[in-house]
Amino acid sequence: MADVTLTVDGKKLTVPAGTLLIEACKSTGIEIPSFCYYPGLSLQGACRMCLVEVEKMPKLQTACTTPVAEGMVVTTESDKIKQARKAMLELVLANHPLDCPVCDAGGECELQDMTFKYGAAESKFMDLKNHRDEQQWSPVVYFDRPRCILCYRCIRVCGEGMDVWALGIQNRNVGSVIAPNKEDHLECEECGMCIDICPVGALTSGAYRYKTRPWEMKHVGTVCTHCGDGCKTTLGVRRADTGMEIVRGDNRDKSGINGDFLCIKGRYAFDFANSSDRIQQPLIKHEGKFVAATWEQALDRIASKFKQVLASDGPTAVGVIGSNRTSNEENYLLQKFARLVLGTNNIDHHRTADFPAFASALAGNANATASMRDVFDAPAILLIGNNPTDQHPLLAWQIRTNVRLHRAKLYVVNSYPIKLRRQAAAFAQIASGSEGSVAQFLGGNDAAGDAAVTPQFSREALSQLRDELKNEKDLVVIFGSELRGNDVTALVNFGLAQGAKFICLGDYANSRGAADMGLYPDMLPGYAPVASATSFHEDWVDEIPKSPGLDLLQMVDAAKEGKLKALYVVGSNPIARYNVDPFALSKAFVVVQDMFLTETASIADVVLPIANAYEKGGTFTNTCGDVQMLKKAGEFAGVRNDFECIVRIADRMGYDVHKLVPFGGGGTRADMGQSRGAQSGEADRHAVWLAEHNLEPKMSPYDPTAMLDEIQRLVPGYDISRLGLLSGHDEHTQLVQITGATGSGHPELVLPSNDTLFTSGTLGRYSPTLNSVMERYSTTAAQVAGD
């Protein structure tokens, strides 16, 4: 759009035509006070705080609704304006309870700040204020009517933003009141967006109410540990008996890929971390019962047992199951541990998407994956399969917001009428389970299209869809785990031909990281087949076993048959997730690292109490391939992180941990600069890389950033900006394989989590918030059914 030049407080500025005055002012550093204006939401003009003088206009004008005009002359500070703002505050405060000392928003309240700034503290008002008792609307949402200043932000974010429309406004005049959709309570997505956006303490969360004062907390920005979308979240922590307790989750810092967004899990389901069910001491099974042990005892027991099995039955008798929720560093370390220390390729994890097929389909094409940010402004999006509203709440938000603000064209192909069809320009409800066929059809296999046809969705419609898609420039193609193997290849080929970018949807916080880091029996990090020559072979000191190992189900079978004698499970609950008969593992020596006595931990021989992702550093890769830093927020007495446990087990087994973690500044072979890896005598590649990247060698074997150094150096696509990561930015990786391998991803092993908005695998079961919400909704559902 053309530019417009105007004058604000004597300063000339040029902004695009159509810019709102309030934004134009902001761009030159002039902050106009506002309550009802919220970028990205519809305009209201309701609070009248943003009044400014515009030359030739007799009345003060609202900067939030006035678009700039050529030659406009604006004054934002004058006695008249000051008086108007002051009076507006006096008016809001007339019916405001002024119970700041007990208000949750106290200290973070826009009304408090504004009153302080414009000095309306002395009240002219001497009559009784209108009162109404606080109400609980849901396990998550509380409403205190008298504090509400009717800025309508909550209504808009719930309706326009979330597409839930659970909040309304009722009555009129001073009796106007925000109302929940079920008269006295809410039935909604419980995302807490309304609470977060409320400028005052009118909407508060059940999770945080009256717990603490904002200034008593320390705020740590980290990454949500639930779904695969990777929202940045700010955790408020404070001292507690158990260490540092997390008391609040929000996204104060709107710099994350999620902008304003967090779903219920990111915002409230941090509470599993404070669960009283957490294990606080290592446990060793003794005559069928767990007995508390010291760390030394537990680690010794594990190490000696592993050594014993290796000695008696060889490396094929041990297996490792990794996690979708541990960090990249831990995953990388774990597979390195399996391959080098245990000498086995028997390593797998709970797969929720066919990332290997995706990687091989991309066939080395750079810039072919879309980041979560791309979804926000792509001009066109194709979504095949999945139900992002439930399973990828942030992705759904990005899509909705893009459609709403940038009019992106959304195509939805699904066998269910998923909610995002409401934003879709074209919605194809295809025959049940035919997502793969549609992918084949798009990829040029015309015959495959037949399977997708229904009485409501014709062959012609399908062809038309393909034609339309072919005309979309800068298309982002997003697909769910319905697509695997060849279907992924077909779809990717279709899209690559027109320069599309892709997102493959996996379910947990670090599913993509687990895949990228090589938690596969047949693939090393970067989806490199174990046998093919890779830099890992060149780099790692010890030999990598050449033949593929057992996958997760094969390991279970082997254990059942008594062939697999030891199983090391890190942050995973295969017994529950894969519905494994617990007796299948009864013959094997099972070690579990977990926070809770899950189904799998209960049958273990040794359980190590573990820190979760909110209690440690490291990185996560979201389902799009965006890498972000974890920062330690919480602290829980008695637990250690997986990284440390793996290193210490290796150490106890007598393995030289320098070969596992590239740490140390001297005294190691590696750092002598000549004897690293198989090619001893060459320069120390790691040291060279560090120097090239202006990084220091890490001093501790327990420092995950040492592992990150190696990941960045060796895993293709991960050579991203460290500076960016450290500053809290999300860095998009490239999905490029080391060698053009087959991507034998065993599509049949993909098992989507099928999480809803209110579940989060095993972890979710330990969240009181999620439980209370689930309980509420199951009882309301029962009531409805009973009607």
């Binding site: 429309w165 909040l167 309304g168 009722q170 009555n171 009129r172 109302a179 929940p180 959709n181 079920k182």
Partner: protein, 160 residues
């Protein structure tokens, strides 16, 4: 839920008058109320479905308009204007008289469910003040005697 034939007919015609379904909402709610005595929960749900709105949104609208209610009131709704033109001509006395006569206060119904009394804003009878509206029927140039006549007449009618 099915409305009376007459109302169904009205709805069917009205939806053809506007480019959006919800445009029928305000008058429809009033017609529904005329028939049911109030816009009941059931009716809210029904009209929400028909206009493709949430129940919440229908409630938002209902609560805005002062003539709409979700609970029924007495059969004869006496709405006495006390706004300025009527005030100048003794509306307060008229209102007081109604209260005494019916033995109820503002926004109350008689126990037999026959009468409801309400103080309302200007009803557009200012030049014929003081005035009241009884179920859409204007009564103007009121005096206490006229009120008695009106109320007694209604009572008598009910007794028959």
């Amino acid at each position: 839920m099915k409305f009376s034939d007459q109302l169904e007919q009205r709805f069917a015609t009205m939806v053809t008058h506007y480019p959006t379904k919800r445009s029928v909402l305000v008058p429809m709610l009033l017609y529904i109320q005329d028939e049911l005595g109030a816009v009941t929960d059931e009716a809210i749900h029904e009209i929400a479905q028909r206009t493709e709105l949430t129940d919440l949104e229908v409630r938002n609208v209902i609560s805005y308009y002062s003539m709409l209610r979700t609970r029924p009131v007495g059969k004869y709704n006496l709405q006495v204007c006390t706004n300025v033109s009527c005030l100048l001509r003794g509306a307060d006395d008229i209102f007081e008289h109604c209260k005494k006569k019916l033995g109820i206060g503002n926004k109350e119904s008689t126990p037999d469910g026959l009468f409801h009394l309400e103080e309302v804003e200007c009803i557009g009878a200012c030049s014929w003040a003081p005035a009241l509206m009884m179920n859409y029927e204007f009564h103007e140039n009121l005096t206490p005697a006229k009120i008695d006549e009106l109320i007694d007449g209604l009572k008598k009618k009910e007794e028959q």
